[in-house]
Amino acid sequence: MTDISTTNIPEKETQGRSLFQLATLRFRRNRAAMAGCVVLFFITLFSFFGPYFLSHTYDQVFPSYVTIPPSLEALPKADTLGDVMAGVASRARVQLKEFAVDGNTFTATIHSDQPIDPRATRYFDRANEFQGTKVAATEDDGKTLKLSGNVNREYFFFGTDANGRDMLARIMLGGQISLAVGFLASLVSLAVGVTYGAISGYIGGRVDNVMMRLIEILYSLPFVFLVVVLVVFFGRSFILIFLVIGAVEWLDMARIVRGQTLALKRREFIGAAQALGLTDWQIIRRHIIPNTIGPVIVFVTVVVPKVILLESFLSFLGLGVQAPLTSWGALISEGANKMQSAPWLLIFPAIFFVVTLFSLNFIGDGLRDALDPKDR
């Protein structure tokens, strides 16, 4: 009767700790996994709440700023504005004496040989960059005017793409779609796979045989073929993407759960449940599924990155999300085409993608260690 586990039973403890709570404790102690959790949380916040703090929308086109490199300075820059102002002044047939930009406002002094019609400010407003130009002061009997107004300056921290759309907004949107697809498709595969695998493994015999052969048949169908067929039948939609991906990924999940179930089925607590008179479905729901959860959670953390990659592959083929919507995968594939001329189109989405995948992998590792039954 050698049994180590009985030695470390806390004798006087009124509140019980479940296996799940113990796993949480172990997980909390894993620094890499906790860091992964925090990073993933911030990336999620960034993707879903970032757009509320950004004045640009993901489909807003700025014709003046096409393929602009990332910069922390507001655009256009002061010297460019000077050139623009000079151009406007010459169109208004006035001389530009002074020009200064302070934040989002500008002041300019213009002079002409004849008194200037104050309506000349219209010329200034016509330029994209200036707005609400007013006459601040009149000097020299109207020959010299002091103007002030607002400058339209835009920040593009991550630069813009070839269509003049803000990359920051697009990365946020891409994050929303990639994360949503990743988690929702994993949930679809989780729900279908766990149920299917548990039923197949628990009932066993001929039912198991038929169900598993069906899985093998589905495995043998080419993925892209399946997607094309589904897209042709149901039309292209956002929901379809994660249904399709989930419908492919559940096959692995079902196999894993079935294997677990086969092992669980021989445990005595299943026998005890049968002796209590539970129905098959009650046993599967109350005893089989909760006990397969460890390996399943770990597998989900592998499936999420896989699904994100699959989605980008579909978008690449033109079967996934369509412009102006986008995902990280789609952004990366666009960026890869312009790697030489505009590296920022590749670098920024790639950083977010890689960091997310790393976090998910660390979380997966942490969960695997935390849920390892060997420690029990």
Partner: protein, 534 residues
């Protein structure tokens, strides 16, 4: 204590600690012991006493989170803190070990010949071919028939007893000075247990090696060892010669261990007591093989035309060795397996009942399993586990009502009602078995089938569980079918005994008749083997 110069193994202040998420666990708290050449030292204790961990610590076989401190000297050579390489010179050649589980301690991928040759090749630097002669010799020595043929067998082709013999052959391969036997016979049937112990004694005489026998079974100790060390909670409680310990135990704990043998007997119910459960000509076949389109080609008959008649308040003990079909019979009687035969429950014919028809009867017919670790779902609280049956059979109960019933059931089996918010892994084996009993009792059944409910427990805990089962029987007029391979427990619990072998009843009768005057040869061997040891 100073070092004993003659000792083969001299242990001083040995400590074994485990790092766990709940802090350090001190499994062994500084023990001293000496093993003299050629003697047999028994280390006795209950689960968790640290008896195995002491030896594992000396041999450098602790789990990842284990640490060992103190001193353990083999003929003056310090073993604690030695590198794996240096340790390997001693381990496997001078000190060898055999383990409890013969089913899992052999590698299924290699022939037994190759596995026995492994330590010889490793320590003596000879080729596998040269080692073969020695392997044949060893197989003959441990009494394996036809060694020339068996040398090429794989572990799965051998029985449990034969595998344990192979393990012993492996341990003897390099003529060790010290053999550590960690519960070598616990997993074996009684008749085979006696054979293996005889073999060990023979070999000891022949080679003059010392044996450290780790066991919880005092019957084995009494017949086999010369000196005894009694351990409890990582400390040595008492040590001395067999005579001292068995005749003049000093410590209360030792006295308690010695007195833990199950005792008492049960009187038969009145003749006119109603028959609760009856199975006539119960036959169970298991199909072996069979594919997608083909039906099973072979059938294995696990239970062959057995008739059982259980009266109210009666306890029928079913005895037999592993593979005799006793557990299968128990399950067939509860209609948990597809089987043939006529079944009656309270004069109602239930032969043709399918699962759905049986469901309302399930609350009256309960089952308690052997393994208290495997029979409770690890992800449910104790409260959820024991009230699960109420959800099925009394769905009208509110949550508060169920909770009340759970408290009552836990009190009845002698557990703190606070236990219902805790999880099974926080309880010891005996407590878990009480939980399993509470799960059955909460439904107020009439018949309970107990499938080896005490086999996985320590003797002292066993006694308590038997007491509990007796009390419950008297209180609720229960009828038991008690399945066990342990004759001492059967004798204490049941008033009627059925002896089974290969799926058939060999002998049956009142307990006293069977134990005092067994008629059949098989029953005689069984009783002989069990009570010779005790």
């Amino acid at each position: 204590m100073t070092d004993n110069k003659d000792a083969v193994l001299s242990v001083r202040g040995l400590k074994v600690d485990f790092t766990t998420p709940d802090g350090d666990v001190n499994a062994v708290k500084g023990i001293d012991l000496d093993v003299l050449p050629g003697e047999t030292l028994a280390v006795v204790g209950e689960s968790g006493s640290g008896k195995s961990q002491t030896m594992m610590g000396i041999m450098g076989l602790l789990a990842q989170n284990g640490r060992v401190a103190g001193s353990a000297k083999y003929r003056g050579k310090e073993l604690v803190g030695l590198s794996t390489k240096a340790l390997n010179e001693v381990r496997g050649s001078k000190i060898t070990m055999i383990f409890q589980e013969p089913m899992t301690s052999l590698d299924p991928l290699y022939t037994i010949g190759r596995q026995i040759a492994e330590p010889i090749v490793h320590h003596k630097g000879v080729s596998f071919k040269q080692a073969k002669v020695r392997v044949l010799e060893l197989l003959k020595l441990v009494g394996i028939p036809e060694p020339e043929r068996r040398i090429n067998s794989y572990p799965h082709e051998m029985s449990g007893g034969q595998r344990q013999r192979v393990m012993i052959a492996m341990a003897l391969a390099n003529e060790p000075d010290l053999l550590i036997a960690d519960e070598p016979t616990t997993a074996l049937d009684v008749t085979i247990q006696a054979q293996i112990l005889d073999l060990l004694r023979d070999l000891q005489k022949r080679f003059g090696m010392a044996i450290v026998l780790i066991t919880h079974d005092l019957g084995v100790v009494k017949h086999f060892a010369e000196r005894v060390v009694v351990m409890r909670r990582g400390e040595v409680v008492e040590k001395g010669t067999i005579k001292d310990i068995f005749e003049r135990p000093q410590e209360d704990y030792t006295k308690m261990l010695l007195a833990a043998e199950p005792s008492g007997s049960k009187s038969a119910p009145e003749d006119k007591a109603p028959i609760m459960l009856e199975g006539r000509n119960v036959t169970v076949d298991f199909a072996i093989g069979g594919g997608f389109f083909t039906s099973a080609h072979t059938r294995f008959r696990a239970v062959d035309g057995v008739t059982v008649r259980l009266k109210q308040r009666q306890t029928i003990g079913i005895v037999g060795e592993s593979g005799s079909g006793k557990s299968t019979l128990g399950r067939a009687l509860l209609r948990l397996l597809p089987s043939n035969g006529q079944y009656h429950f309270e004069n109602k014919n239930i032969s043709g009942f399918d699962r759905a028809a049986m469901r309302p009867l399930r609350r009256e017919l309960q089952l308690v399993f052997q393994d208290p670790y495997g029979s409770l779902s690890p992800r449910q609280t104790v409260g959820e586990i024991i009230t699960e049956g109420l959800l099925i059979h009394e769905p009208q109960l509110s949550r508060a009502d169920r909770d009340k019933r759970a408290i009552a059931a836990l009190k009845e089996v002698g557990l703190d009602p606070g236990a219902r918010n805790r999880y099974p892994h926080e309880f010891s084996g005996g407590q878990r078995q009480r939980i399993a009993i509470a799960r059955a009792m909460i439904l107020k059944p009439k018949v309970v089938i107990l499938d080896e409910p005490t086999s996985a427990l320590d003797r002292s805990v066993q006694g308590q569980v038997i007491e509990l089962l007796r009390d419950l029987q008297a209180k609720h007029d229960l009828s038991y079918i008690f399945i066990s391979h342990d004759l001492a427990v059967i004798k204490a619990m049941s008033d009627y005994v059925i002896v089974m072998k290969s799926g058939k009843i060999v002998e049956e009768g009142q307990t006293d008749d069977i134990f005092d005057a067994p008629q059949h040869d098989y029953t005689k061997t069984l009783i002989g083997a069990a009570f010779d040891l005790d």
